[in-house]
Symmetry: none
Subunit: 288 residues, 2 copies
Amino acid sequence: MSLDRVTMDERVPRDFETLRATILDRRESLPKRIAQIAAYALDNPDDIAFGTAASIAASAGVQPSTLIRFAQQLGFDGFTSLQQVFRERLRERNSSYDERLLALRAKAEGGAGHRAIFDGFVAAASTSLNDISRTLDEANLEEAVSLLARAETIYVLAKRRSYPVASYIAYALGKLKIRNQLIESAAGLNAEMIGFATPADAVIAISFSPYAPATIEEARTISEQGVPIVAITDSSFSPLAQFATVWFEVAEADFAGFRSLSATMALAMALTVGVGEKRRGTGRKRKA
Amino acid sequence: MSLDRVTMDERVPRDFETLRATILDRRESLPKRIAQIAAYALDNPDDIAFGTAASIAASAGVQPSTLIRFAQQLGFDGFTSLQQVFRERLRERNSSYDERLLALRAKAEGGAGHRAIFDGFVAAASTSLNDISRTLDEANLEEAVSLLARAETIYVLAKRRSYPVASYIAYALGKLKIRNQLIESAAGLNAEMIGFATPADAVIAISFSPYAPATIEEARTISEQGVPIVAITDSSFSPLAQFATVWFEVAEADFAGFRSLSATMALAMALTVGVGEKRRGTGRKRKA
DNA sequence: TATGGATTGGAATTATTATTTCATAATTGC
DNA sequence: GCAATTATGAAATAATAATTCCAATCCATA
């Protein structure tokens, strides 16, 4: 590796992107095992950031010494300094997202004018989406979709704050040609409508604290008829959770006393379209 | 720390939020130096995740042994296991906004199963929020809020896909005790309802391509009666934009053929609460 | 203000982990 | 196909870092 190498490219990558580019660039010319660890590093950056040389080497199927040679080949003086880059990446990543939200929140709280209010709602929505994306239970989702896909008619049940979500579900189900019935409170015919539901049907019920008594009552009635219920609610203490066959806990952030609906909406749409996919049997979804 | 302690509360916090709650909970009862490191930990979680016991202790101004005692007091068997929680947090809360979106999109496109669909909707919602946050015209917002705040009755006009937003606006206006009228298509009384509107009132109209003909027609009629209109729509070619006194262009991302509503919702809530604030004259908004 | 218990600081000890070394295997150039 | 070079594996070693221990200090209470 001669003097050239040492003098020429001692521009050690200091940030992850540069490092990534460097690795990709040299990929072809790397020895087998080194290439192996290089690929592993780009695929599992978090493991590099947190693991020990031994554990990483084992996961990647190489010897610890190879890992160190890899680092040295990139110009670092050892595994430890390579690792710093991977750690720095996590730090910055994190802070940039948080900072953004914090900035929005700060503007929302401190700022004057209506822009501040708007920022508050955007921040609440972002937070909610973030949370649900982290916490959503995949098995739950699969189960709910299966359950709903089997139903002859899907009843959609929600009042007050949750009603907009219900109406969007009904709209989407309609577009997908899936038979559904929105239980609105307006006409006062709810009891009759609910009476038609059988165990061959299914319900999507949505309610958040303070739970609309009508929703709870209707959910109870309908569950006593043996109709399976998919519930979207906000805690395991929710009365809805009791009647539900499958239920989702969705924590929506709020601003100015109004909670976001964005997480609930995303979940609702996933359920709806999921059912559509499942029914169609086939299923490749298109992208935006 | 006696047997009781060991046997009784060996529910060691496994995730960061629980840990945080536990610390906050016990804050009062912690000895001085332990409290010091506790505060430091919550303020600089990244340092805990990446630092060594010695470096963290130095930054926090305590001895390494104190750090270990802190961990033990929380039920961990040493600093290392405490640190795991802080590292796990970084892993889960991964990715900057952009990376995160990319990851979601990738999963949504490549991935199978319903989780992928869900991710697609979350990505669409996030993108939309991001976009509107960048592009929203503040002057427009102020003008719209003023216009609506002056209105005797606010009419809310939207069909189909936009209807959920309208219903949430109506709900929120109701909670804020602002007189409003939702123009639904159900009862077929729209023409009559619209007939009552005067120039002293105002309209929020929402419509996206393909524009529901009914919405357009009603907007036209109502604008001919001299009623000012705030429109939320998706392009300057929108027929709604023609009748509008103030209009917002909102570009919602879509997934699987269904557009997100999150940006529209955020704007709608900002308008609604903005009007509430303005009416109340005073105006400090509360935070979540 | 003396006494017991809890808390703290600092160094000694133990453990873990990175790095080096060296023998062996694979590869390359001639 | 052979020598020189480069790459690899495995274990020894050096380094670093966590943990423990004990003496000193603080604090509440009688």
